[in-house]
Subunit: 373 residues, 2 copies
DNA sequence: GCACGCGATGTTTACGCAAACATCAGCCAC
DNA sequence: GTGGCTGATGTTTGCGTAAACATCGCGTGC
């Protein structure tokens, strides 16, 4: 047989011609489409190996930074990689290694500051650990949609999942996660069943209420968040508890939906109550709307009414007046999420439990002692 | 028949399996105990095939919804899948198919409304097309960092990339993308070299300036964004051009950095100019700070000074006073990005060129005719 | 001087899936 | 009835990588 047929580039090894009874791959190992200069296909390890005159395994070793490769060989391989523009194929890697080095993040909306900031921190922390982050948006917060996201997720290339969402939407009975995909939840009180990382809603709320009481206000009104939200629920509960603890009567709860617009509507209502001298809004956006409503109704802040928010969005210091609020450390929440989920993957962490991130009261110009105090 | 469920919620079949004359796999197909950390492995196609009594290929056909599978066989396979909790392995799929069905999004920060809203829209559109979105945050906007993100990207499982960033950070010479990975850029004027989708910055700006001139203002001051930003640059250029077109003198440019705080500082400066009756802020956050500064200095809005913003963030309608601004359709931008990048992947779209998404002026209470007009 | 060990490298195999090809049973046309 | 066709299913193969195992050459201890 004309075993000649050697290409100019030439294959290094003699390639062991014989061995007729090749146990398995005996088939014609066709030399792949010529990857010469006008190459279209991406170079594979085999291509690099050929060019460098070594085996594919050695390329793999270099690629993964193994020790035990001769320095000169290593340099040759690196040169070959560079020449061919070699990049490891992540699909093959993932297949072989059984992991994707990717974390999925399921979130309902990116329109709230908290979710976005948390997501950003997660992405940053994950990148730091060599993980990528894949986003799984859920259009509407219904169980069906969430379930849909999870089932999409099941085909997705992720090793773990972080859910930024009220967990009551996760009907645990109907969601079955792929095996060894770990979950960490933000904004939830499901610490009994999941690993949860969250801002210390209660602590922050207590600080806010206490701040107002300390200023001399008889009681504190509350502009709460929407019903579905656990964060809202906890802030409301903590508000009530703090008042009870202090022996004060809790005024009726007023609800918004997190938006500034809803805060405005609530503010119009509150402005009608002459006895209202202090309001704790469950987030800064609602506080913004509240400020506008009070202004329109001629109630001065903080002289007539003190207002305090929650979140400390960057704009809060530019409100009229600058808003006293409770600062949330979203970056820390994100960091802890990633840490927790990676720990769980390595089976180092606990299966469940809640981690709370402390808050900090940021006093600005929207709170003051009541006039008659 | 004997579909009797043998193992309630157990590992796949007994498997141990006759060392039958397995034609191919010859080797003892060990029951695949723990792969990684002691976890059960997921069931593979082969496991399903065994349980259903068919070949792996048939499982594949069912899994991919091929026609040409007998209904009864199909049902059997589906039942087996369900019993084993089978999920296709996306790494293997990607390896075989040569695509990941994932789009990478590189962005510098998620702290600006525009980026976040665009990202959200991208994620939603992508999901709609069956694509996932992987986030690649870049910590600081330096070329080195961006290059780092791109080289991380090269190992990443993505088929295409959308860059939400000023493209001048992409030093084209040093970034070499993996072959076949298409790029679409947002917020850039690099339409000559890339496919660009962006808001019609110039159109929006012209509308804003014209609105103020139409109200009778002699000229319009401008609170611009930071130097590095193309969006800022274009708004500034368009502002100047619109004034020139109208035969008005352009006041000196004042610069902020997008933040409300910087708007406040600029506002203090502007308040000192008695002849300033109208300001166009390059975004709503800066307009917010501006409003506060003007208020503090006793300049009433809109009676003494008209203020107009850009973006139309949800809070803008709750500013004091509610802000007239230029609405950006981020959702559309995101949608077009995804469409463009998928088109390029399929080689249906053009290699380069810019697509502009129109804006809309939203008149509210922060603009009015000047007093003496 | 010879076996042994060790470092460097090569060879085989399997990961899970799906395209390409192979087989096989029925069924119709002539 | 026989050849050919069709639809359903099985078999082979290989994607690019990395673990496990195999080989090879050289220096060292005794």
């Amino acid at each position: 047989m004309d075993t000649a047929e050697r290409t100019p580039a030439d294959v290094p090894g003699p390639t062991t011609g014989a061995a007729a009874a090749a146990p398995t791959g005996g088939a014609a190992r066709r030399p792949r489409a010529r990857t010469r200069s006008g190459a279209r296909t991406t170079a594979s390890m085999a291509d690099v190996a050929r060019l460098a005159g070594v085996s594919a395994q050695t390329v793999s070793r270099v690629s993964n930074g193994y020790a035990g490769v001769n320095e000169q060989t290593r340099r040759q391989v690196l040169a070959a990689m560079k020449e061919l523009g070699y990049r490891p194929n992540s699909a093959a890697r993932a297949l072989k290694r059984g992991e994707f080095r990717t974390i999925g993040v399921i979130t309902f909306t990116l329109s709230t500051t908290g979710n976005v900031r948390t997501l950003e921190a997660i992405a940053t922390s994950a990148a730091h650990e060599g993980y990528a982050v894949t986003l799984l948006p859920v259009a509407v917060p219904t169980q069906a949609e969430v379930r849909g996201a999870f089932s999409r997720l099941e085909e997705l290339a992720v090793d773990a999942v972080i859910v930024i969402m009220e967990v009551h939407l996760l009907d645990a009975a109907t969601i079955h996660l792929p095996p060894h995909v770990q979950v960490v939840v933000v904004d939830s009180d499901a610490g009994d069943h999941y690993t949860v990382v969250d801002t210390d809603q209660a602590g922050g709320t207590r600080a806010a209420v206490q701040h107002l009481l300390d200023l001399g206000h008889r009681t504190v009104w509350h502009l709460g968040g929407p019903e579905g939200s656990f964060a809202a629920q906890r802030r409301t509960d903590a508000w009530r508890a703090a008042l009870v603890e202090a022996g004060r009567a809790a005024p009726p709860l007023i609800r918004g939906d997190w938006s500034a617009e809803s805060g405005y509507r609530a503010g119009l209502e509150l402005a009608a109550h002459d006895d209202c001298t202090a309001v704790f809004a469950a987030n800064d956006q609602m506080a913004l709307g509240l400020l506008r409503a009070l202004h329109e109704r001629g109630r001065r802040v903080p002289e007539d009414v003190s207002v305090i928010g929650f979140d400390d969005i960057p704009e809060a210091s530019s409100f009229l007046p600058p808003l006293t609020t409770v600062h949330q450390d979203f970056a820390e929440v994100g960091r802890l999420c990633v840490r927790a989920v990676l720990r769980k993957m390595r089976q180092e962490g606990p299966e469940r439990g809640t981690t709370l991130v402390p808050t900090r009261l940021v006093p600005r110009a929207s709170t003051a002692p009541p006039r008659q105090a």
